[in-house]
Amino acid sequence: MIDLTVIWASIIGFAIIAYVVMDGFDLGIGILFPFFKVGKDRDTAMNSIAPVWDGNETWLVMGVGGLLAAFPLAYAIILPALYAPMIAMLLGLVFRGVAFEFRWRDPAHRELWDRAFTLGSFIATFAQGIALGALLQGITVEGRSYAGGWWEWLSPFSILTGFGLVVGYALLGACWLNWKTEGALQRQSVTYAGRLGISLLLMIGLISLATLTLEAQYYLRWLSYPGVLATAIVPIATIAVTFLFYRSLRQTKDAQPFFWALALFGLCLIGLGISIWPNVIPARVTIWEAAAPHRSQVFMLIGASIMVPIIVAYTAWSYWVFRGKVGHDGYH
């Protein structure tokens, strides 16, 4: 008997990974934007993501839409619990989304829209990080609804995860530019990637240690024997990947550092899964408690199994069309 609830948890997990892989770097470029020279460098950085950002962001809608469809109870509890960060994220995405178009339409105010791009990207990232922290530290649930106040999400831990994600996305952004650009902008990006890599490792360490203190479940999952023999692989792999990341950066590889940085994110997500499985709201609601009825799961699974491979295929095609280095005037 196949458990559709587990399959749906995996699909939502896939959407989250796809989102982080794809939107992470373009939010990161937004965060780094003010450090790039006005003019050619900024235009190039922007052009390197202009054709793909919209598709990237669609995975965010897929994640939340999938949550509503497959785990409606979780959707109904999480979004009110994270009210302020979610609204902030949405408004941030408004600013950065329109900036892609508006900065070209209004050269007189380009500086303004560049700032909106940075501010929006930063707020959206920070809010996503806070949301993650708020979920991990636990939210108040009574019956079928959220029962905490509208500031419950705010804590030193959630602020820490907020900054952690900012550092992480900025690293992905720097690595992307290393891959897709040339000359001074590429060299600048390599420098940033170097600094951000070590900062991210520190952040991962801090957040991991803090997470262990939050709930007994997390502590037991990670440190009880003999499970620790398996879970210890994650931190060890994290250090190994960081090493490989720096080696590829030193060897002035174009694409490799980006993929090693993604691998770091992958390990974080695996770690997250170890902590919270099988809950959809950590330590509160399991995936089975929140799951949609069987008929909803089956109906959507038909669509997802047909559409997701097709989506991945044409998304890959779209990236392939815009492959290679992007010049000042766009891709060539």
Binding site: P80, G303, Y314
Partner: protein
């Protein structure tokens, strides 16, 4: 405490109304614009005439801005259900969630995936594949409308569900029944035609504006002519579609039609059509009413003497607000009639070979530029406010749908949305007007700054540029 709860719900409703109204303006435009662009590019591929390529590039710039605003305001909507209407989401999620997931899977990704190629890829993929990308985006906007209108229609005419022990609404054994619920086909046709008319009148107004300044501009002539064909054909169709939709609503949501008509009282021997008047919900009458006897029965029942029930037959607790629905309906219908009139006028002008010379027609078309947007919003108000006091008609009340939020939280977020939307989208609309103000040129430039201006390595000289001569 009770008072605070009520405030939280009123604010949440205001927030949803505000964000969805703003959002709706953009897809209402981009659905029609995407099809218009597909037609232009198709005609260009078929005829090789430069005027089509020029118009394509001219409207592509506008489309890019509209689409970006539609995307970012749309993402907000997918979260609003959870942030502000969590009880609704928990209860209805098993039924509407899968439909919205299908919208993401079959429409959003399609649009977003091919938009990059459509905007920036002409020199990279060649003309035919680029046309495929344009078509994919246009079809994506259709599919998106299909699913979201199915969801909305199900909320208006819910069928095919069961109520579970935990209070959730569960899908019954037929998804077909849920998707093609009784009001869906009518609402889909009515809304898609509305999107086409919105675009036709926006394009027509831009054409008219430039014709008023220069009657010989080939781009302005072509776009005006195409827009007026749409007006002449689609506006009358819309009247028919609207009539069918109204009769469908009478069958499934009679209270909404009573509010639209201003029928507080039942009329056993044929109901009058109230053209204008001021609904007075206290006295249960329409003040200063100008009415045509028995005409309402004629329209709704196609029989002068058919009895029509009024709001007196509806329990007070189930009655929608009358004034807003009544007025919004008249705005929509009035604009629809004006659209038909412009369409007919354009046919007359064409017959007299004065389509490009008749400046009064151009002035009228210019004034009608925003008419589609206003009509679409008014129509949306009719159907959504007319569904009150329910979120899922007859099943779940609006007051029982909201998130357990403190009023200050909702007030603060509402304020933030209002400030940000008016600033950001206000500037966006200003940019649109600025793009429209510029006359289409014989060598219309590509998206400026964007990667479309590929440097010299491109094998063929910029493909579209080459065709504009």
């Amino acid at each position: 405490m009770m008072i605070e709860q009520e405030w939280a719900i009123i604010l949440a409703r205001a927030q949803f109304a505000f964000t969805v109204s703003f959002h709706f303006l953009f897809p209402a435009f981009s659905i029609g614009l995407a099809s218009f662009l597909a037609v232009l590019e198709g005609l260009w591929l078929k005829t090789g005439k430069g005027v089509y390529a020029n118009l394509y590039r001219y409207w592509l710039k506008i489309f890019a801005v509209v689409f970006a605003m539609g995307v970012v305001s749309g993402i907000v909507m997918s979260y609003q259900f959870g942030t502000n209407w969590s009880v609704f989401s928990d209860k209805a999620g098993p039924v509407i969630g899968p439909l919205m997931a299908y919208e993401v899977l079959t429409a959003f990704f399609l649009e977003a995936g091919f938009l990059g190629v459509m905007l920036f890829g002409i020199n990279k993929v060649g003309r035919k594949l680029h046309f495929v990308a344009t078509l994919a985006v246009a079809i994506g906007t259709f599919i998106s409308a299909f699913w979201i209108l199915s969801v909305n229609s199900w909320m208006q005419t819910p069928v095919g569900y069961e109520i579970a022990a935990n209070g959730q609404l569960m899908p019954g054994d037929s998804w077909w029944m849920i998707i093609f619920n009784p009001s869906f086909p009518y609402r889909l046709v009515h809304t898609l035609l509305a999107a086409y008319l919105t675009t036709a009148f926006a394009v027509g107004a831009v054409g008219a504006w430039h014709l008023l300044k220069d009657k010989s501009n080939p781009g302005a002539r072509k776009m005006f002519s195409m827009a007026m064909w749409m007006a002449a054909i689609v506006a009358p169709l819309q009247v028919v579609a609207g009539d069918f939709h109204g009769i469908n609503t009478l069958e499934h949501q009679p209270a909404k039609v009573m509010a639209m008509e201003g029928h507080y009282q039942s009329h056993p021997n044929g109901a009058p059509l109230i053209l204008f008047g001021i609904p007075n919900s206290k006295e249960r009458t329409v003040d200063y009413a100008i009415e045509i006897p028995k005409a309402s029965s004629l329209i709704l029942k196609h029989d002068l003497n058919a009895p029509l029930a009024g709001l007196d037959t509806i329990p007070d607790a189930d009655e929608p607000p009358v004034g807003i629905v009544f007025w919004a309906f008249r705005i929509m219908v009035g604009l629809g009639m004006a659209m038909v009139a412009i369409g007919m006028w354009s046919l007359l002008a064409r017959a007299r070979k004065r389509l490009y010379e008749w400046s009064w027609l151009h002035k009228a078309a210019l004034v009608m530029g925003p008419s589609g947007f206003i009509a679409v919003l008014a129509g949306w108000v009719v159907t959504e406010v007319g569904r009150q006091p329910f979120t899922i008609y007859g099943v779940l009340r609006t007051v029982d749908s909201a998130s357990p939020l403190d009023a200050p939280a909702v007030a603060f977020s509402l304020l933030a949305f209002v400030v940000v939307y008016f600033t950001v989208f206000g500037m966006g609309i200003w940019y649109l007007l600025r793009l429209m103000k510029k006359a289409p040129e014989a060598h219309e430039s590509a998206l400026d700054g964007a990667p479309i201006r590929s440097a010299g390595i491109t094998p063929a000289p910029a493909v579209l540029e080459g065709a504009s001569a």
